[in-house]
């Protein structure tokens, strides 16, 4: 299975009859079991692209489709949101069950086993009865990830999942995500503005320019994910980071000084 993003253009009405172009002619193919990170300064439309892939927004032009010989009728796409989007009235267990209930995915008898599996996998054992407001940001995002994984998606979309976390929690969660991903090997599109995060997690890093977003460059990262934190690769990692930063810094500076219309 592949996800083909085919000449996508997107714009929003900006008032006064004008349109604000957000994405311009984006084409990108996600291969099976590939982890692609989308990096760009704020206002590059990376979250818009993710919403397009999830079918939460119709594209102005272009199309997004799944291709493959073994396609089933209904493909499942899960999203991990930056603000988690947990239901405050559901405890951890019931929040993870939400996707299964909403999509009527498993007979209720088999749900329990599935949910418990992902509770163990994401390190939430013992917190089943806790409500979201009782949990730390990192634990809350674990629930968000478990909820997304529990429906066994064909495509996992992650929209800056760790950017609301403090720096230390963020590092821990990145490491957890690496080992979790190695276990599930889900085709993943990961949106972030954090360069290091992209370099540590992705097979490919796609750089987007600022408004309208265009694909500026695509970097393949060949170092095995599990070894990227090792000292012998630090020079190569730093080289990749500075290459990305040289692409993005001017756009980021512009984004910073822009006055909102």
């Amino acid at each position: 299975m592949q996800l083909v993003i085919d000449h996508i253009c997107q714009s929003f009405p900006a008032g006064g009859g004008r349109v604000l172009p957000v994405l311009e002619d984006i084409s990108l193919t996600l291969r099976e079991e590939e982890f692609v990170a989308l990096v760009g300064p704020s206002g590059c439309g990376k979250s818009t692209l993710l919403n397009l892939c999830a079918g939460l927004l119709p594209p102005v032009s272009g199309s997004i489709r799944f291709t493959g010989d073994d396609l089933t009728a209904e493909l499942r796409v899960s999203i991990v949101f930056q603000e988690t989007g947990l239901m405050p009235w559901r405890n951890v267990y019931d929040n993870i069950a939400f996707g299964l209930e909403a999509g009527h995915l498993l007979p209720p008898a088999e749900r329990d086993e599935r949910i418990r599996h992902y509770i163990r996998l994401t390190g939430l054992s013992g917190f089943e009865k806790a409500y979201p407001h009782q949990l730390s940001g990192g634990m809350r995002q674990r629930v968000g990830i478990a909820r997304a994984l529990a429906v066994r998606p064909d495509l996992l979309l992650m929209d800056e999942p760790f950017s609301a976390l403090d720096a230390q929690t963020r590092l821990l969660m990145q490491e957890e995500l690496v080992s979790l991903w190695e276990k599930t090997r889900l085709t993943t599109l990961y949106v972030t503005h954090n360069i290091r995060e992209a370099v540590m997690l992705a097979d490919r890093v796609v750089l987007l320019s600022r408004r309208p977003g265009r694909v500026k460059d695509i970097l393949e990262i060949r170092i095995p994910r599990a070894e990227r934190a090792l000292p012998e690769h630090s020079a190569e990692i730093a080289g990749l980071e500075s290459r990305i930063w040289s692409h993005i810094s001017r756009d980021a500076r512009e984004a910073m000084t822009e006055v909102q219309p």
Binding site: I79, F98, A102
Partner: protein
């Protein structure tokens, strides 16, 4: 060498008194009231003593007068509240989620909301007769609007992120209503219930004073006409207890239904 210790500059804002202070204050007010009455400075016709009111209340309970009036009032307020709340809840939910209903119904609701509902009582009496139905209807009207408005805005304010979560998991319309919209709007709906409870009590008494021979409102008016002030005040106390009970009932219900809502 001089030395100045750093003072606790926030102590004024931090001071907390224990809960029994409230009880002491209440007792002081009652004692003062009693003393003024006993001193003979005020005629008991205008201000009966607390003990006299209590005695009157006990008498009225014993001869069944309170029971009869309360039963009539409770029926009216329960029937009116239930009908108005159900209609308001449905209207708010539908108008909050359907753009068509929003456009069609909300301007009408907004236009009718500011009418003091008691002004419609003569009309309802004309339409429905002087019996129970006109009084129940006026209470239902008063309850309908705050609940419809609060439900509507609660539904309108549902976090769009949670809707997107539901849609991304392919939730249907009914599932989303039942498991996302309604729970999210519930605290706001309960705020509407509280406003409606006050309105209902007000309309109950007003309607009973205008057009009833039974009920707490009629009882108060009756003893006012006869200038039997202690019995009048006893009726007022029953009303205040009724309001408190209503409030307590809603609080318990809210705690049960919204365990996640932090104060």
């Amino acid at each position: 060498m001089k030395s100045y210790e750093v003072q606790d500059n926030m102590r004024r804002w931090r001071r907390r008194y224990p809960a029994y202070v409230s009880l002491i204050a209440l007792f002081c007010v009652l004692a003062l009231w009693e003393a003024v009455c006993r001193s003979g400075a005020v005629s008991p016709l205008f201000l009966p003593a607390p003990t006299a009111i209590l005695a009157a209340l006990v008498d009225m309970i014993a001869d069944g007068e309170i029971g009869d009036s309360l039963a009539a009032s409770l029926f009216r307020i329960a029937a009116g509240f239930a009908a108005g709340a159900a209609a308001g809840l449905i209207t708010g939910l539908v108008a909050g989620t359907s753009s068509l209903a929003d456009r069609a119904a909300m301007p009408i609701v907004n236009a009718l909301y500011p009418i003091p509902k008691i002004a419609l009582l003569p009309l309802f009496i004309l339409w429905l007769g002087i019996g129970e139905l006109s009084k129940v209807t006026i209470i239902a009207m008063g309850v309908f609007f705050p609940i419809a408005m609060n439900t509507y805005s609660g539904v309108k304010n549902v976090d769009p992120l949670l809707i997107r979560v539901a849609v991304s998991f392919r939730a249907g319309w009914l599932f989303t209503m039942r498991h996302v919209v309604l729970p999210y709007a519930l605290p706001m709906i309960f705020a509407g219930f509280r406003i409606a409870a006050g309105t209902a009590l007000l309309l109950l008494v007003a309607a009973e004073m205008i057009a009833a021979d039974k009920g707490i409102g009629a009882l108060i008016l009756h003893y006012g006409d006869l200038m039997i002030t202690d019995r009048l005040m006893a009726g007022v106390i029953v009303l205040s207890l009724l309001g408190l009970l209503f409030h307590l009932f809603l609080t318990v219900l809210e705690k049960r239904l919204i365990p996640w809502h932090r104060p």
